[in-house]
């Protein structure tokens, strides 16, 4: 039999249910792998050894549960009752959530174990995990490179077999881009598909929780467990995921021409074209489409996100939780606590967002960005009148070197292909398509709202091909 750490979620759950191995044995296998590799990778902020053991000891063979005895790693901005949750920030270094995020409750209800909390850019602001207050995570394929971000710890943990699957969050590309950099599957669900209750908010109109996994089938399993309406998050909706389209025959796949221009590494472009040809050979029809406002996505994102950030991060006041710097004035206490607790990127975004929403500027920045967001969403709607889904690169390059991107703008550019679909609320799946010079490369499938099943089906076709 294969090593437990190499098994799929279904194989682990069935193995535990059938008595081939116990949940404790499964947990031990992953904890051993963590002990062996974590020092080099720094994928976790907290490993939940004792808590997960207590959970595993309660699992009995024969029990129901789609994730029976399956240890899952959670990005550290997802609240876990009684288990430290830092969001990658020093400002809540010692914060113990008094309540459970809905996604965690749903995983536990299916028999999963909480393996630990993974490293991330502070408050999910970043594309490399270098902004974490807990040190950078290293890419398992090349330790001198970043794993991507902001869900870099989750992606690295899955890629290195430290966890069979993980949850991440994706606001501008924070699941899809690290999945591509680490050679794993990452799904950013349709906005509203998965509850955000208990997820530390970055940009409420964009944040979604989704799975990172080794296979498309595993990502699908986790998605099916966590999705669905939650009365604690009014933005969630119940939807019918049954796809009207099935099979690759005559499937219309659009290649948006704006995604193959300047800034895209040549080898990545070639790989996406190869993936397109292989899908065409399997019966799909390729069509060039245009998303003319793609170029504006980044500018829209860097108004909307900081604006929502400046409001969402106002709750960190030094009084109810987190770093507190005493002062005789309450204004100074709050201001100094925030100054001490937040790292550079949250501070930058709070300042930018406060500015974008300030008197005299809100219309020319925030309102204008919200209008251009409409144009971007309309681009996609027009494209989906002609094609069933879109195939693009996930990121313009493979994983870059730690420390390589020094100014904030060049870092922001690594999300240019994931941001537009997110602004439109659409689902996106990043699927590995082999390696380029020893580094994984991913392709992104974007579909209409709630088309996740179609994305999984096409993703599996890509997965089956042997890529160099």
């Amino acid at each position: 039999m294969r090593e437990i750490t190499g098994l799929s979620l279904k194989q682990i759950a069935e193995g535990v249910r059938g008595g081939s191995f116990s949940a404790v044995e499964v947990l031990q296998a992953f904890l051993e792998k963590i002990a062996e590799k974590e020092k080099a990778l720094n994928a976790f902020i907290t490993v939940n050894s004792e808590g997960a053991l207590t959970q595993a000891q309660k699992v009995k063979k024969g029990q129901k549960g789609r994730l029976l005895g399956v240890p899952i790693a959670l990005k550290d901005n997802i609240s876990t009752r009684g288990l430290r949750t830092t969001a990658g920030s020093k400002i809540i270094e010692d914060y113990i959530p008094p309540y459970q995020a809905t996604v965690v409750a749903r995983l536990l209800a299916e028999g999963a174990l909480v393996l630990g909390k993974t490293n991330m850019d502070e408050f999910a602001m970043g594309s490399s995990t270098e902004n974490s207050a807990y040190g950078v995570t290293h890419n398992p394929y090349d330790l001198t490179r970043v794993p991507g971000g902001s869900s870099g710890g989750s992606a690295a943990a899955v890629a290195a077999h430290l966890a069979p699957a993980a949850l991440g969050t994706d606001t501008g590309g924070s699941i899809k881009q690290p999945a591509a950099f680490c050679g794993v599957v990452g799904l950013r669900p349709t906005y509203g598909a998965v509850s955000r209750y208990g997820v530390i908010a970055l940009t409420s109109s964009l944040d979604q929780v989704g799975p990172l996994a080794k296979t498309v089938a595993d990502a699908r399993t986790v998605f099916e467990v966590i999705r669905g309406r939650d009365s604690f998050d009014a933005t969630t909706v119940e939807s019918d995921y049954s796809s009207k389209i099935s099979g690759l025959k005559n499937l219309r796949i659009g290649l948006p021409k704006e995604y193959f221009g300047a800034g895209l590494e040549k080898a990545v472009a070639e790989r996406v074209k190869q993936v397109a040809s292989s899908l065409e050979k399997a019966g799909a029809r390729l069509e060039e489409v245009s998303l003319p406002h793609t170029h504006y996505g980044l500018a829209v994102y860097y108004i909307i996100t900081p604006s929502e950030v400046s409001s969402n991060l106002a709750r960190f006041d030094g009084i109810r939780y987190g770093v507190r710097v005493e002062d005789s004035s309450i204004e100074e206490l709050v201001s100094r606590s925030r100054g001490k607790g937040f790292g550079s990127e949250p501070k930058r975004r709070i300042i930018l967002g406060t500015f974008a929403l300030s008197s005299g500027y809100a219309d020319q920045f925030y309102l204008r960005a919200a209008k251009v967001r409409t144009l971007i969403a309309q681009d996609f709607a027009q494209a989906f009148a002609k094609v069933d889904l879109l195939l693009t690169p996930t990121a313009p390059t493979t994983a870059f070197k730690i420390g390589e991107k020094k100014d904030p703008l060049s870092m922001y550019f690594s999300d240019i292909f994931t941001i537009p679909a997110n602004l439109a609320g659409l689902p996106g799946l990043s699927v590995p398509a082999g390696m380029i010079e020893g580094l994984p490369v991913g392709v992104q499938l974007i579909g209409p709202k709630f088309s996740e099943n179609l994305l999984f089906e096409v993703g599996e076709a890509i997965e089956k091909e042997k890529w160099s």
């Binding site: 933005t235 507190r324 550079s344 144009l375």
Partner: protein, 98 residues
């Protein structure tokens, strides 16, 4: 609407955001944010006079719930205070305000 030239007064914005910054932070943020704002100027090239803004993408409106207490999402006072650095007799403690 008349377009105001975007000038970021970092002291004023930091005060609005209730965020104390060190002099080096003020200097580097001013420069970096000027670069970001220059990038954002791109949006002014588009005519959006007749475009409706998008604030959310689900299209949901007026999502209501019953006006009743749901115990599973109510924190007890000790739970609510558990992460605070300073508490007193079941309250959060802050400096004298009045």
């Amino acid at each position: 609407m008349e377009m105001k030239k975007a000038v970021l007064d970092i002291d004023y914005i930091a005060r609005l955001a209730c965020l104390s910054l060190t002099p080096p932070e003020k200097k580097s943020f001013s420069q970096q944010l000027a670069d970001v704002l220059a990038q954002i100027e791109e949006l002014k090239k588009l005519d959006v006079a007749k475009v409706e803004p998008t604030f959310q993408t689900t299209g949901a409106t007026d999502v209501l719930r019953r006006d009743e207490v749901r115990k599973e999402r109510v924190l007890t006072a000790p739970e609510a205070l558990a992460n605070a650095k300073e508490t007193e007799r079941g309250y959060f403690r802050v400096p004298k305000i009045i």
